[in-house]
Amino acid sequence: MIRMNRVLVLGLLVVLVASVALTGPAVAKKKWEKIEIPELNEVKMPAFERVELDNGMIVYLAEDHKFPLVELSATIDAGSIYEPADKVGLASMTGEVMRSGGTVTTDGDALDEMIEARGMRVETWIGNTDGGAYLSVMKEDTALGMELLADILMNPAFPEDKIKLAKESQKAGISRRNDDPMTIARREAMKAVFGADHELARHTEYATIASVTRDDMLAFHADWFHPDRMYLVVIGDFDSKEMVNLIESSFAGWEKATKVLPADPEIPEFPRTVNVVNKEDLTQTTVIMGHNGIRADSPHYAGVLVGNRILGGGFATRLFNEVRSRQGLAYSVGSRSGTGFRFPGLFMAFTMTKSESSQKATQAILTEIQRMRTEEVTDEELERAKDGILNSEVFSYDTKREILNRMVMFERYGYAPDFLKKYQESVKSMTKAKVLEAAKAVWHPDRMTILAVGAYNDWDSDFSSFGPVTMVDIEIPEPALEIPDATPESLAHGKELMTLCAEDCGGVKKFKALKSLFMVNSMDATIQGMDLTFTTEKSIRYPGYSHYLLKTPFGNQTTVLAGEKGWASGTQGVQDLEGEQLQAAKDELKTDTIGIYRNLDKLKCQALVPTKVDGVPCNPVHISGIGDDYRIVFLRADNNRVFMVQQPGMSPMSGAPVTQKMYIDEYMEIEWLTTAKKLRLLYDDELFGSITVTEVKINPQLDGSLFVK
């Protein structure tokens, strides 16, 4: 049995829509002004109902029996403004996986089959400020569709496999976010205006996506998805009473929210900044300029809307006439008034123009905005703008969906239901003085932050006339390397990559047949302000003997491995290597680059997801299996040679654990062997030393005494 707390039925109310006769000049009417314009037929407000269910859900319903369809849209108080800053992307992925992952009783793929076989549409999403859901079904599928939608909203399963898909999709989006200049401009302009960390401007990075877990999604859903946070608009071929019954039964048992809705984020005010994204491949510059605007309850609301209709919000505006039609500088140019119902909007102007007119077009726009603040608009402009707004008002009532969605918006943000009527009245009584007053109060071209994307060197100016220019770096931070569990495929692929690399550098067989090696290198390092040179002489007799002589400005140090024994000698005398130290020396011999080539069949080589190292595409291979140590070898994707080796290391200064990276910058060939010639050693991404290999001998006769204590 349903109990409606409040039912409001509006019958066929008549909304009066102004039909304004054109007030053309008294003399010489133009041809079209002589055409008679009859009175506009009445706008009949469609019947609709507003029902508040016991669980707090607000439902607006309008029957429409013209087509055998039912359409439902839901708005939910859940947006990415509520997600933690280090998990940007959580809200959006939660909205996606709710639908794609299915529910605890029906998995996502089964859901897809059911929905598409019936030609239904069922979607969910979470945007910046709201969550939403949509259902469109043929009349006969109404009950099934409603049941599915309710199940999705109430009991999403968030399975790991679909979370992974959502993450892949996010990552692909991140990798592509610099492909289109307009996308770059919008994103960076929001950050420039509101601040990069602001809830309305911040965006995903590989790291924020990686940090989102299934538990986060469950929690986000549990926090914000509740019936008393939801507004439904249902339109179509149904009986309202039955529909309310169906909604009540479908959403039965859904608990009200317990968590308090946070206050909306504050909108900061900043002075102008001038920001440039330099992208050399572009022949066109995209410019966005803006600052924060006002809420619709501001006294300047109507003035700003009328003013913007004159400035740049339409086809025959000052900006369009001047920048596009007369100066021919752009295809796209315009402005947004900067008003919003929930947040103060963003007052903005934009254009896309050829590189050589970047400054000219930007200046032309700023000049037009300034003109709106310094002189009154003309009588003709004012009348046209008012006529345009009032004559098109009928389109605010042309679909039921539009009418009901507006009711929901007014209710959510606390506007009176007759807001639109009041607005119309303000427009009717608008004067030139009021437009000027609104423009002065709300629009400040000198405060508009500028963001421009293009080939900076080709522009007609460096933009410094607008203010000090900040170059914006849009390079995408690479994701942290993920080391997933190895699979037979990734192991096979890793081995294949390493084998190719070994073959390229001389051949696995030759490496295995290697009897001995002698190598000298010298490293230049700056330590505590001193430029120092270290020289290392390595003498190796495979498989189990090595002799490393390190020559430093402070004396020499020798480390020797001789089969099952080892020792180190230096200024403080000789010391045997034991336990871990001995094992480490043995492992080192098997896992330096040549060691890896010789031991490929014993090592575990796992291919990781391709990535870029300093902009160079590489195939990383994670190598483990000897000792506790691992290393990641980054093979250049274009030639399969080792580009960099990363491994855990120890700071030679502090002894603290660090990430050690060795870059091979140059190779050389010695007989059949291709080996490193120049290298760089980095600890935690700080350059420690540059190394040059000065001598390599293959299979030399080594003095046996080297390996005798």
Binding site: V17, L22, K30, K31, W32, I37, E39, L40, N41, K44, K66, F67, L69, D112, E113, E116, A117, R118, G119, S136, M138, L165, E168, S169, K171, A172, S175, R176, D180, P181, D281, Q284, G314, F315, A316, F320, N321, R324, S325, R326, G328, L329, A330, Y331, M352, T353, K354, R384, A385, D387, G388, N391, S392, V394, D398, V609, P610, G615, V616, P617
Partner: protein
């Protein structure tokens, strides 16, 4: 058939492109409510009365698009569409006779400038190469010095005087950087300056003069323009959603209007279709149209790829070039070219107007007769170049700074071919929606793509066209990875066909989408005008169901085997350029 009009395709429209095959639903009784009439000049009107809200939508479709363009005038259909907003002899100008004269002068100045660009610029370039060569012959220590001299000589309005081994150059005259340089030169260098003076400078000056004449003529003509008056009249009368679009097959004009302004609408639309004035022609073409090409194609990776994809896939028919046109054609097209094109195609035989909303047939008839009768009659022009059978696989790999993409197209017959519904079924099962083969395999199972779709009719459906499959890889995968996976799905359809469940799901989706498409005035107007233009009868909108219903599993196998052949395909891949 896809009814979506595009100037040039973008990712956005690929995403929204949904099947819109339609299905007769007699209980809707809509078909019987639709009325039509034809004026003596051939303009065909379709009217659906709907008195719910006092507004109406219309769509004017001209049966001409970029596929009608020949070499040298690519992009002209789109330019003409832009010009349709510039007004008429009544609207948008303030002095008919003076404007006509000014425009004639402007045309003459354009021809002279164009001639200068085509003839003088190459000559200047040749002479410059010679001068550069001679400069490189100077002793090394003098080269840098002479470069300075050279760049001063090229300065804006530079005045050069050679006297006693000295060259005095006044350069950047009339600008803030204006200055006079005095260089000491030797005999060899003076010879180079003399070469510049005799071989290059006169040509550069002539070119600059032609350019200036043209600019002046444009300014002169602008005096008689009331900027954007047409748009202004529509907007101040409450017009909404004003737009236009040019595709390969059609050109579309549209807006919504309060219904008490039906007569005003008829006047505005009839007037611009019969008596347009192509004012501000050169400013529009060199400004907004050129910028549109830059933003849609040159600065957009998808646009770049699809333009050369079309170039490769269609060698002979009108789909060879993109709708936006080549940059050099946009530059060189004259107003006379455009007027001739208008005359050839914008006649009654090519024009369909659909109106839906709070209007009455009798009124529409009355005003149509009054305002559309000046449009001349004519016969639709037939295009005689057919796309020959493709004999070899074509592949294009575009190395680009953008992230990887993959597309493959297979030649298919046009929208009137009896197999068209079969193509639609194949494209739907292969790549529409979450349960499509491509989405299941590439996105859900293999996790190698974030998006994979296919559809029939790219870039149009009036001529032999293509069935396109398109996919975006996940980060770390390439177009090649997707290619393999897509072929596996295609091969599976060729070998095994599709299932009964899949076929019936297509039919059910088709039915639901058809009804969804009828709900709005503007959607309805678009569909009616579209079917009338491309099939010759709007009723086909309601009679597609029999065609789709008649598609059998065997049809799918037969057609799949026919089209999914290696030699019938064109492959396009973006391979991401590596930063060096």
């Amino acid at each position: 058939m896809p009814r979506i009009m595009t100037l040039t395709p973008t990712l956005a429209w690929l995403l929204v492109l949904l099947p819109a095959i339609c299905l007769g639903q007699t209980y809707l009784d809509l078909e019987n409510q639709i009325q039509e009439f034809t004026l003596d000049n051939g303009v065909h009107f379709i009217v659906l009365e709907n008195h719910d809200v006092p507004v109406f939508s219309f769509q004017t479709l001209i049966d001409v698009g970029s596929a009608n363009e020949t070499r040298g005038i690519t992009g002209i259909s789109h330019i003409l569409e832009h010009m349709a907003f510039k007004g008429t002899n009544d609207i948008g100008g303030n002095n008919k006779n003076m404007e006509r004269k000014a425009m004639a002068a402007e045309d003459e100045a354009f021809e002279a400038f164009k001639h200068a660009r085509l003839v003088l610029v190459p000559k200047i370039e040749v002479a410059q190469v010679k001068l550069d060569r001679k400069t490189r012959g100077l002793p090394a220590e003098r080269q840098e010095f002479f470069q300075k001299v050279s760049s001063a000589m090229h300065g804006t309005g530079a005045e050069i005087a050679v006297k006693d081994g000295q060259v005095i150059i006044a350069h950047d005259l009339g600008t803030e950087e204006e200055k006079i340089d005095n260089f000491d030169l030797n005999a060899d260098e003076i010879e180079l300056v003399n070469f510049f003076m005799s071989e290059i400078k006169p040509l550069e000056e002539e070119f600059a003069a032609r350019e200036q004449d043209f600019e002046d003529a444009k300014d002169a003509a602008r005096e008689f323009v009331v900027t954007n008056e047409f748009g202004q009249v529509v907007e101040e009368n409450g017009g909404n959603g004003m737009n236009a679009g040019t595709g390969t097959d059609l050109t579309m004009y549209h807006y919504n209007f309060p219904s008490n302004r039906l007569e005003l609408w008829a006047y505005l639309e009839g007037n611009r279709m019969s008596d347009p004035v192509l004012r501000e022609f050169y400013t529009e073409k060199d400004g907004p149209v050129t910028e549109e090409r830059r933003s849609r194609t040159d600065n957009n990776p998808m646009g770049r790829l699809l333009e050369i994809f079309q170039n490769q896939m269609f060698m002979a028919n009108g789909y060879h070039h993109s709708t936006i046109g080549y940059m050099s054609d946009i530059q060189n097209i004259s107003r006379a070219d455009c007027q001739a094109y208008f005359k050839k195609h914008y006649h009654g035989g090519n024009m369909v107007v659909a109106l839906v909303g709070d209007i009455y047939l009798e009124d529409v008839k009355k005003y149509a007769k009054k305002y559309f009768s000046d449009i001349p009659a004519g016969q639709p022009s037939m295009i005689e170049t057919f796309e020959p059978k493709q004999l070899v696989e074509k592949r294009l790999i575009m190395t680009d700074p953008a992230q990887p993409l993959f597309a493959v197209g297979y030649h298919i017959e046009n929208g009137m071919h009896p197999d068209w519904p079969v193509y639609e079924v194949i494209a739907d099962v292969l790549g529409q929606g979450r349960t499509s083969r491509l989405n299941k395999s590439l996105v859900k199972e293999q996790n190698i793509a974030v998006f994979a779709q296919s559809f029939a009719g790219y870039p149009g459906d009036k001529y032999q066209t293509s069935l396109l499959a398109f996919a975006i890889p996940v980060k770390g995968k390439t177009g090649y990875d997707l290619e393999k996976a897509i072929y596996e799905e295609i091969d599976r359809i060729v070998e095994e066909g599709i299932t009964t469940d899949e076929l019936s799901a297509v039919k059910q989706r088709t039915r639901a989408n058809f009804i969804r498409g009828l709900r709005s005035n503007s959607g309805m107007a678009g569909q009616l005008a579209g079917f009338q233009t491309s099939t010759g009868n709007w009723r086909n909108l309601f009679h597609q169901v029999e065609e789709i219903d008649s598609v059998t599993l065997d049809d799918v196998k037969r057609v799949a085997a026919e089209i999914f052949v290696k030699s019938n395909r064109t492959v396009a891949i973006i391979e991401t350029e590596e930063d060096s």
